[in-house]
Symmetry: C2
Subunit: 413 residues, 2 copies
């Protein structure tokens, strides 16, 4: 895919070449299992311990509290089912919000079938959870609060530190899915006041198939994978040594480059937000305008399908055009044609949710790429709208914070 | 580790260079997530589907019945907890045997704490399970039988097809942990009559961090990882594309080379068995003499510690000696100094269990390497015995099938 512009980095990122270099010896000649006592094994064990320290440093944690997994989905399942199992005798109530990732919502639905009660807090129209609502929802039988750090679709960053203060005061375990934030914005488990934190390497230039869970010392949680004594008997299975080493390297790189890169991406993000508002009629910005992932832009284009935009951009008809990869809805559910459950949870009508475009940038994306993509998006939107039987130009522009009452977004549908 | 002789291939194998080559593009430029609809995503999806077909071909399965996981430990946990969850209303009884891997035993112990009943069938002194004992143990409330295909420590191959006939007739779900057999001896899910089969890529020259589960069409099993729609909603989480592609390549290579390699390794194995019996006094061969993994040798050397042998071989004192990596007990529990639960389950006294040496060979190991290792083992045993306060030469030799009554193995301790 020569010259392609990849703007779907919330789904996955390109593994950093330095990360691949770091992994390489552990894929080939240094193949020993860290569970073995001879020198090949102890070398692998040292490499894992170094990666653990590197990841711990990235999130301000003690390395003893880091446990490697196969990714954020495993970590999220472990957090929810593991705490539920360990604390069942205390109570069977969990608090989350309506705009969580499926790897949070689906384990919770599973628990509901087992008789657990789950409170799904609403968000405001920007996708923000109110910490006071968390406080009000906590009951004597609440054993877990799970709130995402930043939404993978609309980029809204939640007031985690404020929620962490509440859960800490009330003595309720607090889990945060930080798959979208670790390596992209500062994450400090103590500042945030979290007890459990999920992360995935491939979201920040590490390899796929490896992730981690932070478990604050003293938090009770049943293993999801029982078996050997790996990870202090909390997560069994032969270590994915190359993957873990890669996650360690990605953590080290992120720790040094994160701040400057976040500033650069936030500049690009704001540029896109301004540009689409000025150059495309009848759009709505989804997610919070400022409390937002640096690399995330999400907007709905009235009268057309996000899927159509996405496919038109990725398979351009002009021979010399560059393919552009953006997303609509969640990468985990595309393939289904249902509108994003997150946009619906924000109170958006299904028609507008269907028209959402998500642009998520990463370190390879330049101002030039972004400008190329913006012109292409505007041209595709124009073309698709010209064919649309429903779209009429000149509806009132929908922007962040506008309620569905005060906005004509629905008028065209 | 130049010139090292790696004889611990049941713990992990060296990833085949062809496998690494196949993975490489998916680690770097082809980094798209297969859950996405644009061309980078569909390329990744095609690569995963090809790997699925390749693995299915290796085990005689329909590709629709293959589900990728993070390894055999996840697959084993999934099989046990997933079937238990799905069939709980039918009954709460599971059958296994005493010599299983910890990734089977520990999930079962977890279920026992929840009120499940588990029957642990005994094995004979070679570690073999009697199919008739399985038949006799099945009750109306039995929902699962889980028996390993071949023991990771002593190499004994179980009569899976005979057991599969019984479970099939009785309508009980049959799970087989095939981590040690897939890619090493012929495995055919229909011939074996299994409903669920676990496997791990790194056990047959694939990468660490990826495995699979075969789930026969129609078998009810609850997901272990809930979330996105990956793997037909049965195993959520962004696909480990490079890992899965590597597993597919390893499967393809194994399918073509397995038979000749199994024959070669069985020859080496028999050579070792004969050699140690002829050249080292007072040893006992552990596991079945013929119904045994081609690359596996396990014996106990009376009067000395396996740990001492292992460390002496891996850190040789002579400057020009080649390091040799063998195992004692399970790789998953070494680091603890407890004797192998498997050898104890066979009725072996703890002293002899402590003296076990496991040699597990793979395609890189030559006759020359093996002969070098044998001389070194004999020399180390001689040296350690000369320092032993308990060992007295001339005890009756302990061999396969000798009971502890008919053998003086215990006399020295």
């Amino acid at each position: 895919m020569k010259n392609a512009i990849f703007l779907d980095n919330a789904a996955t990122t390109r593994t950093d070449p330095e990360v691949i270099d770091a992994m390489e010896p552990w894929l080939s000649e240094k193949f020993g299992s860290p569970a073995t006592l001879y020198s090949m094994g102890s070398q692998a064990k040292q490499a894992i311990d170094a990666a653990r320290q590197s990841f711990a440093d990235l999130i301000g944690a003690d390395q003893k509290d880091i446990f490697f997994t196969s990714g954020a989905t495993e970590s999220n399942n472990w957090a929810i089912k593991g705490v539920a199992d360990a604390l069942e005798s205390k109570g069977r109530h969990i608090i989350t919000d309506v705009a969580e990732h499926h790897s949070i919502l689906m384990p919770l639905r599973y628990l509901e079938k087992k008789g657990w009660e789950v409170t799904y807090l609403p968000t405001d129209s920007d996708g923000m959870v109110n910490p006071e609502a968390v406080a009000a929802a906590i009951r004597d039988d609440t054993v877990l609060v799970s709130i995402v750090h930043a939404n993978h679709e609309i980029g809204t960053i939640q007031p985690i530190a404020a929620i962490g203060k509440i859960t800490s005061e009330k003595g309720v375990v607090f889990h945060v899915n930080a798959a979208q934030t670790v390596g992209h914005i500062p994450v400090d488990v103590n500042h945030l006041g979290v007890d459990l934190l999920s992360s995935s390497a491939h979201k920040f230039y590490g390899p796929k198939g490896v992730g981690a869970m932070y478990i604050r010392h003293g938090v009770r949680i049943t293993p999801l994978l029982h078996g050997g004594t790996q990870e202090k008997k909390r997560r069994a299975g032969t270590h994915n040594v190359p993957g873990i080493v890669g996650m360690g390297k990605a953590s080290e790189i992120a720790r040094h480059s994160l701040e400057a890169e976040a500033t650069r991406l936030a500049g690009l993000r704001n540029h896109i937000l301004d540009w689409v508002e000025s150059n495309i009629d009848d759009i709505r910005i989804n997610g919070h305008r400022t409390e937002r992932l640096p690399g995330n832009v999400n907007f709905s284009i009235e009268g057309i399908e996000g899927e159509s935009i996405m496919l038109s951009l990725s398979y351009p008809t002009a021979g010399d055009a560059r393919p552009i990869y953006v997303s609509t809805g969640s990468a985990c559910v595309s393939g289904s044609l249902e509108p994003s459950h997150i946009l619906l949870a924000l109170g958006m009508p299904a028609e507008l949710a269907h028209g959402s475009v998500r642009i998520t940038m990463a370190k390879a994306d330049t101002q030039e790429d972004v400008d190329y993509a913006l012109e292409a998006i505007a041209a595709v939107a124009e073309r698709l709208r010209s064919m649309s039987p429903v779209y009429k130009r000149g509806n009132k522009k929908c922007s962040a914070g506008s309620s569905s009452q005060g906005c004509d977004c629905e008028a065209a549908s």
